[in-house]
Amino acid sequence: MNRFIWVLLSFCFAIAAWQALVSLTGVPHFILPAPKQVLDTLIKSRELIAWHAVVTISEVLIGLLLGAFLGALTALHLMVSATSRRLLMPILVFSQAIPVFALAPVLTLWLGYGIWSKVFMAVLITYFPVASNFLDGLRRTDRGYLDLATTMKAGRWQTLLQIRLPAALPSLASGLKLAAVYAPIGAIIGEWVGASDGLGYLMLLANGRAKIDLMFASLFVLASFTVILHSLVSLFANWLTRRAKGETKELLEKA
């Protein structure tokens, strides 16, 4: 509860500072609108913003789910196959040197102006952190656990699924948390480069027409969504981690 009050206070402080800046400098509203004006626009244009938000949120969620799924699958595959690991790891690492921004135009060319070029951007940007974190975790299994599995005559797949995988869940969880922050960035970049819907498109459009209040209102919605997404993914990730460490609720309450 205490923490919530501080968050609230922090926001009030930021808004007050913003209002003070606008009042004291007398800056025109098409350069920096007052907080109240942004709020009015947010309410007035709620249907427009909501429509574009739905598009962006869909892109982010589809992209995040696909990216995380493919990333986790890749990590499992690279864990099992040493040949694949040697063959693919250099390409994977090199691919991270390519800024996703640079790929956006060609993705639009290949996949069109619709949501799929943005979904693909989000997949690209979330895939690597999930794959590399999870693979790291899979490869760093406690030697002792593996020795135990050997003396128990465990099969290769059983060892992977019942020992390496659960032991690597905390690493998968940190990959997912990173991915949740990156996914909206991917989608917005995609929308900037070429789109007819989505918050990124709306912000660019509003900016071009000096509707800075609409731009800020869209930005506020986008940031709120990102925070909510990150919190939800964190909740899930922390649950995964607790599960892997055998920390039940009961134990946490005792602590």
């Binding site: 050997t150 128990m152 020992i163 892997a244 460490k245 055998g246």
Partner: protein, 231 residues
């Protein structure tokens, strides 16, 4: 008969040990003592069929074993029942829950069957680990300092429990504690750079009381020999 004879060349082309000959006491406890880094754990790992840092040259006659280490190696994401039945799960076999319950009862953890390792004390964790070892039901049991992290009382209790429950099995125990070897060992060996050396051991099959004169005599002669071995 479980035997090992040979030498181990390390990755840097040094001998970790040379011309070692080991024969485990059949149906009883063989305790292996000696300074750190001399290769006791390596011998145990060779018998367990585990990887070692080096190339072994010689002959090993061993069997499938159950293995217990200093770390309890309980999977934190499984409860006590899940950990005790881990072996069957890893082999894709049917799980004998009834037998697991009996073993959990024998190590005194019935009330804690559904708890996770993080909720158990160090002593309870080692008892869960012992139940898992028993669940494997192998004639050869390899123990690598399993009680060394416990306090004196828990360690003595665990020694008695393990001795009782592992009765009739061929057990090899790597330990740093002469008192432990004195109480448990039907055959005691000290390992140093010159090889394995047979030491006096108890002559009865029962575990010795910690305060019995025979225990104390054995313990002091082992301690004297250990100090010489390290020098």
């Amino acid at each position: 008969m479980i035997t090992l004879a040979g030498s181990l060349l390390t990755g840097t082309n040094d001998w970790l040990f040379q011309s070692v000959e080991l024969e485990l006491f059949p149906g009883g406890w063989s305790c292996l003592l000696g300074p750190s880094g001399v290769g006791k754990t390596t011998i145990l790992r060779l018998l367990a069929g585990l990887e070692t840092h080096g190339a072994f040259q010689g002959k090993i006659n061993t069997a499938r074993c159950s293995y217990m280490a200093q770390q309890d190696l309980l999977m934190p994401w499984l409860n006590v029942m899940g950990n005790v039945t881990l072996g069957a799960k890893l082999r894709g076999e049917e799980i004998d829950t009834q037998r697991a319950r009996e073993l959990i009862e024998q190590v005194g953890l019935t009330e804690h069957t559904d708890k996770y390792p993080g909720q158990l004390s160090g002593g309870m964790r080692q008892r869960a680990s012992l139940a898992r070892t028993l669940m494997e039901d192998q004639d050869l049991v390899l123990l690598d300092e399993p009680f060394s992290a416990l306090d004196a009382k828990k360690r003595a209790d665990m020694q008695e429990l393990a001795h009782e429950l592992l009765g009739g099995k061929t057990v090899m125990l790597v330990t740093h504690d002469p008192a432990e070897a004195a109480r448990l060992g039907n055959r005691n060996l000290i390992m140093n750079e010159s090889g394995l050396h047979a030491m006096p051991a108890k002559t009865i099959s029962n575990i010795l009381a910690p305060e019995a004169p025979e225990t104390l005599n054995l313990q002091s002669s082992l301690l004297v020999a250990l100090r010489k071995a390290a020098a």
